[in-house]
Amino acid sequence: TDLEVTHWWTSGGEAAAVAEFAKAFDATGNKWVDGAIAGGGGTARPVMISRITGGDPMAATQFNHGRQAEELVEAGLMLDLTELAEKEGWKDIVNPPSLLDSCTLDGKIYCVPVNIHSPQWLWLSHAAFEKAGVPVPGNWDEYVAAAPKLREAGIQPLALGQQPWQSNLLFGAVQIGVGGLDLWKQINLEKDVAAASGPEMAKVFQAMADARNMADGSNVQDWNQATNMVITGTAGGQIMGDWAQGEFQVANQVAGEDYTCLPGLGVNEYLSTGGDAFYFPKLKDPEKAAAQLELASMMISKEAQVAFNLKKGSLPIRGDINLSAANDCMKKGLEILATGNLLPSGDQVFSADTQTQFNDLMVEFMNDKSITPEDAQERYAAIVEAAD
């Protein structure tokens, strides 16, 4: 049976990863009809939502799991996977379990998590630091200290793409790295406005101001263009999620040799575990519905998880697989995963609406030097207060 799958994975590493899924699914005798839409979630999501509400849905679609698809589920437009999940015992194999929780509404499971993404990584280029004549930093503070040297050497200290979510991702990493776990929990989980406007948070915003200075002059749009600057050594570093790994891999670079990755900015080694999940809109054709279940089952299968995540550079959602092929960075991630230093992702704790507000605030802050850290903090606190 032909199943149409929409997603916005179109960069090199992403596409290679998707190809693994497709291969595996085609091997089951079905056919993966690829519906890639480039331009990120902003371009793709309206298509997905329109098609689902328009009554002509695709068979499976990517969402960041979390609250993005909540209402579609509530509206009864999504296929209930509970039966399959129980049969295959997803509860036992999915690690961390919060991933499956995000797919659960009223005790029913509606999505298949396929990977774990953690955004709090700092990627550093060995070549760049060599050129500037400073050792590769081991944490955020060293990095900030090295920035002027990088600039002198004509190297962009920090690469940052223009898209709003990248600025917010940077903020998230700085928040956990500089602010620490407690502060993070108070704000993100308890929505504590006092904490958001407190002195601890002020430090975070000071660090953001540092980052702003370091990112000054970075003109690229897309995240992987920024990553490419790190790969080619024209930028010292980038704060980006673990998916950047895929780009290094495509460029044949070796972790520890050509580049260094520092989870949690090398300060507080916590990772939040968001990720991508697939949802399966309800289809009328029973044959297709059966195939949808096959697809879901395939995605969570061991082989597919290994193949997919190796290509994508993300972590698998199963604790029970052995990623011996994983590289240095991935192993770091797996270690943290094993120690349980985990946080829920932004998509899980805040609604898309609030997330967008954060995006806007951060991108504005990162691009407009006239906004003081204090102003930004005040506005940040206001968004936290209004968050639902």
Binding site: G41, G42, S351, D353, Q355, D368
Partner: protein, 303 residues
Amino acid sequence: MTTTSTAAASQRPIRLFRNKAAKIAAIPMILTALVVFMGGTIWTIVFSFTKSRLLPRADFIGLDQYERLWSSSKWMIAIENLIIFGLCSLVFSLVIGFVLAALLDQKIRFENTFRTIMLYPFALSFIVTGLVWQWILNPDFGIQHVVRSAGWESFSFDPLNNQAIVIYGILIAGLWQGTGLIMCLMLAGLRGIDEDIWKAARVDGIPAWKTYIFIVIPMMRPVFVTTLVIIASGIVRLYDLVVAQTSGGPGIASEVPAKYVYDAMFLSQNLGQGFAGSTMMLLAVLIVLIPWAYMEFGGRQRD
């Protein structure tokens, strides 16, 4: 008279059924106008008072969405940008379009060639336009780079990466695409002006520029009105160009209302907020449109 007394007066037909075919033929238009445009608009307005998130839900919360809209700095920037872009593109489109049309109207050689050159960008999509100009204005490859590598090191022209002037960078591309059509409209208008007016002005010894400003332009009012409608509708809809060129950046410096609405609806998954934004935009459109409709239909019946 024989006729009056004998012939049975034929019945006056029911009004609704006069010109039946015309009315039937107009049904698609009527449906579109009523169902799509009116219906869609009303639906939008109604749901702008709700708390709709991903899906429209009749969960009324009064004016909350509007309060948030107007307290959002992104919206304010979007409005500001729209005003700047709108005014500039209105003025420049009209001025450039008119000047070009006036130049082409001088009985010049190669008129066709020049006209085609100016008009062809109109055939391209905003995506393409945005892309090309993003590329040309890119400080690392484009004009700035070229000038600098030619020796002028301090030269700086990077509108797309400079918050303060990013909207003008978009304007450059917008004008590139749109002025050709305006030029065509103006040219058609100029050609419609009575030759004798020009002759009269020459006999009166009035220089050409004065003739244009004091006589010809005032005579071209209908053309300007049509042109204004076309330009204005383009301005309100400005979206693709921004997305293709800057995605609203740097920061949020080049946000525009249509993008705000789109983002609110599909990125933030906050339909209510998006609808509130749309409603404000529609309101602005009405303010532009009502005077036009009045001029079009109010003043005279048919000429």
